[in-house]
């Protein structure tokens, strides 16, 4: 988990949670529907996986830009693209 911002202004409310969630999908620079937003006493936790490190950084940048007073913790990973090591047999 990476602490992205730390501004002590109290926990974000449901409306902030909703707005951040919508931003993640509707902001053309983000366009992610697979990131969850959880409210904690310490701020928001963003969790999920994206296709590149650049996209992860862009998510944090855009959220911080739009909600500069909301502390955000990132738990966003980059999905692996290795070839599979197993085959599923479906007789």
């Amino acid at each position: 988990m990476t602490e992205h911002r730390d501004v002590a202004t109290g926990p974000p409310d449901e409306y902030v949670e909703a707005e951040v969630h919508r931003l993640l999908t509707e902001d053309p620079d983000v366009a992610e529907q697979g990131i969850t937003v959880a409210r904690r006493e310490s701020g928001l936790v963003l969790q999920g996986e994206v296709e590149s490190a650049h996209r992860r950084e862009e998510i944090l940048r855009r959220v911080a830009e739009r909600f500069p007073d909301v502390p955000v913790t990132s738990d966003i990973g980059v999905i692996r693209t290795a070839a599979p090591t197993e085959i599923e047999q479906l007789p």
């Binding site: 053309p28 366009a31 529907q33 697979g34 969850t36 999920g48 996986e49 296709e51 590149s52 650049h54 996209r55 999905i79 692996r80 693209t81 290795a82 070839a83 599979p84 090591t85 197993e86 085959i87 599923e88 047999q89 479906l90 007789p91």
Partner: protein, 257 residues
């Protein structure tokens, strides 16, 4: 035996081009076809489709896809489809394709699908025009999928959608958004034909395995779910236990599921 590789929700743009390619280069050794379950792009632009064409074109195996909701975002579907088709990728929407594979004829019927929800907890074709349009979009999509599946003349039928036909593979997603992730009507369409396998994407936080009420195996191959470049499924009853436990030349360990 027919060997299918599948993945969905790869969301390509310039920053992702090349990430899948090393694993994709192995496909001719381990699969007869690659099926893509939609959301190939981030915003559905022609430029992003060109990224898809570079990454998934010229693989040495047939590539068949449906589009996803992201591929519709910028209202450039005709351009996206043309770029994909020019790269040799078959794009299905209410139709099907039959591929001659060494193990038999593989028939793939595909639609994007749509939401609506699942038995007892679904939207109804009633009320405001917007709600009726929502449900009718799903109904038309499911009807097209069912007709395409039933019309196939092949040895093995596979249904390819973006939205989910069952709730099983949504486990892990919030229950409240299930109606936006799939519809029981897609499952009903799949069960209207002797379908061997149904593949879908869209539900990034879902799980891989499920079955339709009729017993058809369903696999959510969204990239964040399978966490690898693609999954491989062997369909058919021509393998014995000895064959499925050996390591194939590409290094893939075969196992019973």
């Amino acid at each position: 035996m027919i060997r299918i590789a599948a993945v969905g929700d790869v969301h390509l743009d310039e920053d992702v081009v090349g990430r899948f390619r090393p694993a994709l280069e192995e496909l001719p050794d381990c699969a007869d076809a690659l099926l893509l379950a939609g959301d190939l792009t981030r915003h559905g632009t022609e430029a992003e489709a060109r990224c898809v064409a570079r990454e998934f074109g010229g693989l040495g195996v047939p590539v068949v896809t449906v589009l996803g909701n992201h591929d519709h975002q910028c209202d450039q579907v005709p351009q996206v489809v043309k770029v994909l088709q020019d790269a040799g990728i078959t794009v299905l929407e209410g139709d099907s394709v039959v591929l001659d594979c060494p193990g038999g004829r593989l028939g793939v019927a595909g639609v994007k699908g749509f939401g609506g929800g699942f038995a007892g907890r679904c939207a109804s074709d009633f009320g405001e025009p917007e709600m009726k349009a929502f449900v009718r979009t799903t109904t038309e999509s499911a009807d097209a999928l069912g007709a395409a599946l039933r019309g196939l003349d092949c040895d093995v039928r596979v249904a390819l959608t973006h939205y989910s036909p069952v709730p099983d593979t949504l486990a892990g997603e919030p229950l409240e958004i299930y109606p936006f992730l799939g519809s029981y009507q897609l499952g009903q369409a799949i069960d209207s034909a002797p379908t061997a396998l149904a593949l879908h994407g869209h539900a990034h936080a879902g799980t891989e395995k499920g079955t339709t009420p009729g017993g058809v195996r369903v696999r959510n191959v969204a990239h964040p779910v399978i966490r690898q470049a693609y999954s491989i499924y062997h369909l058919g009853d021509h393998l014995d236990q000895g064959e499925v436990s050996r390591t194939v030349s590409s290094g893939i360990q075969q196992t019973w599921s």
